[in-house]
Amino acid sequence: MIDGYNFAYLDERTKRMIRRAILKAVAIPGHQVPFGSREMPLAYGWGTGGIQVTAAVLGQHDVLKVIDQGSDDTTNAVNIRQFFARTTGVATTERTREATLIQTRHRIPEAPLTEGQVLVYQVPQPEPLYKLEPRRSETLKLHACEEYGLVNVKLYEDLAHWGRVDTTYDYPVQVNGRYVMSPSPIPSFDNPKMHLMPALQLFGAGREKRIYAVPPYTDVKSLDFEDHPFHVEPQGHACALCGCTTSYLDEVLQGEGERLWTCSDTDWCREQREAA
């Protein structure tokens, strides 16, 4: 462990402040709770919110997994995992099923999560309405009044224009029948995994200074219409490494215009290959 810094980098008072925000967020599922986001030794937009949430809830006996794009060995994931290894000394793992706390950017692991686990999302933009109304003073009122006409009109216009919704990631959801929430830029493929998930889902947005949460076993509904229900477009390929056809796949260019697809969740891919 590195000298001169507290366990998990932040001082205990800051961690307590963040945990209070988390408790409030859990009590009001999907509601964005402002918090005193700190300057972190990582650039804004690279996971400062997720890191603060992880730092606030991580204990000495936790087993930490960090993924970015579903993979443990992408540079940003490696960097964040090393940061916590340096500042806490906690055990780290690449195995989804062994982790007690998983910090993620842009994916939900393929392996179902359990009650003992916490999933921490890195969130670039917590306000699901910002593309329709950039003024946060206004969106605050829209949420307060449960006035989601803007986003429904946007979905309707997409359907009228394209015959489908023009959003493939960060697809807005309604939590517990009340707040419309950004699921963070996960592919809409992952949205159904949020619904009634046994694990606690925490969302940290450092630059925008917001925390929100989805408690275990909470309704999470991707916005849609009765006659145009939300659905996930299949990618239509199998993983070139493990053959899986149900996981989310990365497209990898091979040169000469050739390409192949592999599981974005590298730990899931390993499990499939070992089981084969």
Binding site: M40, P41, A43, S71, R86, Q125, L253, G255, G257
Partner: protein
């Protein structure tokens, strides 16, 4: 009675002496060498080169020394020098696919031809102060170049072509092609031709390339926060050396005259299509002298936002308005004009004083009359 109407000349002379002393700092501390600035404050030198639009690291370092590290003042010095230089020739267009890359990352594919090459970057350093740098004692510096490059892709050998990550998308028609404007007119020269708005993209890109980094960053960030959002992805971001070629009249073929370091960013953005064009991705482009990903990426976001007329996008934010973004982004013009308010304005102010006194008189006499 004290009336400071004369004595300007002596005051200026004294001010210059004071400035020279302030620049030198404590004489007990060793004087900074220009070569040290050039070698050890390279990113600052790059910023000066880029915004002065003069590729001369040595003079940029000198300007920084003279300007006491004030980037905008150094840019000013170098631009004022640049303007005295004759224009000898135009080089051929740069081929950035032939760049000797020291760093190339693409955020859209996990791996791709050419690989992901991290190179020198602060991105993954963890921002903890390295107190060992407080000591000037030399630490072990490697003399051999690193054999294993920080690449996640297949091993690379030098001089290999590094195709752009967007090429495959273009081959599939998924992204707009980069084509010359109709008739391929020579681009205007923003340093010689006064701007006539609306400017063509070729002129806008020139202005963005030497615009203030902080201004561009703020403008680009605004698009990300919803003020003219453009759905961006970092398609291809690369830094390295490219060859400059020119065709001398007496030879009639291209010869290489040198190399410069540049940073290039191709941003991928969404476009829903129109009645005549199928939906496809669009591009924002950034190109900056030296190494500055912050600026190249900001530039590409702003470039894309400024193309709203091409895609029939509603103009809702300042970043989409070229007359807002471009002239105000020139930090030499802006710095000069903001600070000109330090100059004497006695004459104009006196006339304002007269006016406001008259108005107040009127106001109070009207009140008395009520």
């Amino acid at each position: 009675m004290y009336i400071a109407v004369k004595g300007g000349e002596a005051a200026i002379e004294a001010s210059r002496v004071l400035l020279a002393e302030a620049r030198r700092g404590d004489p007990a501390v060793r004087e900074l060498e220009v070569a040290q600035i050039r070698e050890q404050l390279g990113l600052l030198v790059d910023r000066v080169i880029a915004e002065a639009s003069l590729y001369d690291p040595e003079l940029a370092a000198l300007a920084l020394k003279q300007a006491r590290g004030d980037a905008v003042e150094a840019i000013f010095l170098l631009r004022a020098y640049r303007t005295t230089l004759p224009r000898v020739a135009f080089t051929e267009p740069l081929d950035t696919a032939q760049m000797r890359v020291r760093r190339r990352v693409s955020a859209i594919f996990k791996d791709l031809p050419g690989g992901q090459l991290l190179g020198p970057t602060y991105d993954y350093t963890q921002r903890l102060l390295d107190f060992s740098l407080l000591d000037a004692t030399p630490i072990s510096v490697r003399t051999e170049p690193v054999e294993v490059q920080a690449s996640t892709g297949s091993a690379r050998t030098g001089g290999e072509r590094m195709p752009n990550a967007l090429d495959t998308l273009a081959a599939e028609g998924l992204i707009e092609n980069t084509l010359p404007s109709e008739g391929d007119p020579p681009p205007p020269d923003i340093t010689r031709d006064p701007p006539v708005y609306p400017l063509p993209r070729s002129a806008r890109l020139q202005m963005l390339a030497r615009a203030d980094e902080g201004w561009l960053l703020g403008m680009a960030y605004a698009t990300q926060r919803g003020y003219a959002y453009t759905h961006p992805f970092g398609g291809d971001i690369r830094f390295g050396a490219v060859a400059m070629e020119l065709v001398p009249d007496e030879l009639g073929f291209a010869i290489e005259v040198g190399e410069i370091d540049i940073t290039e960013c191709q941003m991928i953005n969404q476009f829903g299509g129109s009645a005549t064009v199928a939906p496809q991705f669009t591009r924002g482009y950034g190109l900056v002298y030296g190494h500055s990903e912050r600026k190249a990426m900001s530039m590409s976001l702003v470039d894309r936002a400024l193309r709203s007329d091409e895609f029939d996008e509603e103009v809702i934010a300042p970043v989409q308005q070229q007359e807002f973004v471009l002239p105000q982004g020139d930090n030499i013009e802006a710095s000069g004009f903001v600070q000109h308010l330090k100059l004497p304005h006695y004459v104009t102010f006196e006339s304002e004083l007269q006016l406001i006194r008259q108005l107040r008189e009127k106001h109070f006499s009207a009140e008395e009359g009520k």
